[in-house]
Symmetry: C2
Subunit: 223 residues, 2 copies
């Protein structure tokens, strides 16, 4: 019924050193299925079917189902970080940068709701992310450690607030508090939408713009 996710050259066993290519095939298949059918409905066996391999074979490359999801999250957030990188290279007034980064953050979350849910809302967030403080020493994180990309993205958002402070804007709160409040606003928006996608929210773009206005206006003292 949906056997169109077929991979080229099925039934072939990988040669000696080529296991990692199979790993990549698994990730490609898993991403497709997770996005199409959701986490619960995507089973190990189905992923294996698409790859063209038996179910236990996946355990050669991943510890368990969650590890596959985690790897996908990392890939996803890596791309968010690239977007943020691009934003950081542009020369912008810091407030404008905040708005754009906020928009990018929200957009990204809404475009990858499951990954966002898993890394920021599941409560199963790997401890490495949780314990690692914010003011997160972006440099000190191993960017290849699974689960670290989410923390890096988060840290980058926080960095913008330091920049705002350094460029002489008056804030209604200490930077830390301001950053936390604004992030909580953005997170609240995407969390609500992601968790209740069928809810008849008012127009999404209005909500996004409104929340950004509300957050910036609430935190930055406007002259």
């Amino acid at each position: 019924m949906e056997r169109d996710l077929s991979t080229a050259s099925v039934g072939t066993r990988k040669r000696r050193g080529e296991g990692h290519t199979r790993r990549d095939e698994i990730l490609v298949a898993a991403r497709e299925l997770f996005l199409r059918d959701g986490y619960e409905a995507t089973t190990i066996r189905r992923i294996a079917d698409v790859v063209g391999v038996s179910a236990p074979a996946l355990y050669l490359y991943f510890k368990d189902k969650d590890a596959i999801m985690l790897a996908l999250c990392d890939q996803t957030f890596r791309s968010l970080n690239e977007v943020m990188d691009g934003m950081e290279k542009q020369q912008l007034a810091p407030i404008e940068r905040l708005r754009r980064c906020g928009t990018a953050y929200i957009r990204f979350a809404l475009e990858h709701p499951r990954q966002y849910w898993l890394t920021f809302m599941s409560g199963n967030t790997p401890q490495e992310i949780k314990k690692r403080g914010h003011k997160p020493d972006t440099q000190s994180l191993d960017p290849d450690a699974p689960g670290s990309q989410g923390a890096i993205a988060f840290g980058r958002l926080m960095g913008i607030f330091r920049e705002i402070e350094n460029s002489g804007f008056a804030l209604n709160y200490p930077v830390d508090t301001a950053a936390e409040l604004v992030w909580m606003c953005l997170h609240g928006l995407v969390a609500a939408i992601i968790n209740n996608p069928e809810f008849p929210w008012t127009r999404r773009d209005v909500l996004i713009e409104g929340m950004l206005d509300l957050a910036v206006r609430g935190v930055v003292k406007m002259p």
Copy 2:
């Protein structure tokens, strides 16, 4: 190892008209297990064990596992609504009422974090809650219909904004959008704290007060 959730008089079959008491027993047991072990780890069989009946017996009282969850969510909402009711009886300036309701909401969430998580953040919220619209005509809802309590709670929030508008304040957004934005702010705050309790947040009371300020100031046009 944890057989201390035992119900009094196990092994007894209910008399003819008393099925509903069994239903309540199931809900008590389910709540305890869901809160302690989470949604996935709480199985039909385990609930049945605690209640002291066989697993299929639960299907006499609930359509499926989600229906149990739905009933529990409703109970939680109901108690939140009772708190809100108390707030509505006091005569207050509408903006002050908004602030107090917000505070009550946050306090409720932080005092019952697991229940809050289960109801608002688990992602397992049954579909009936999701589908039910807001703009909910509070009167026209049957408060006993499963899933209606959430809509009632939301409707109450919108009512406050209508009240604010009627008493001569201008809003930056239509009432429904305003209500959504403010709720998202509050939800973002409690969601962040609940999900990352170990995170080195700045002072909690400052965050709460700050978020309320930010939300009210962002939505109500101040003269």
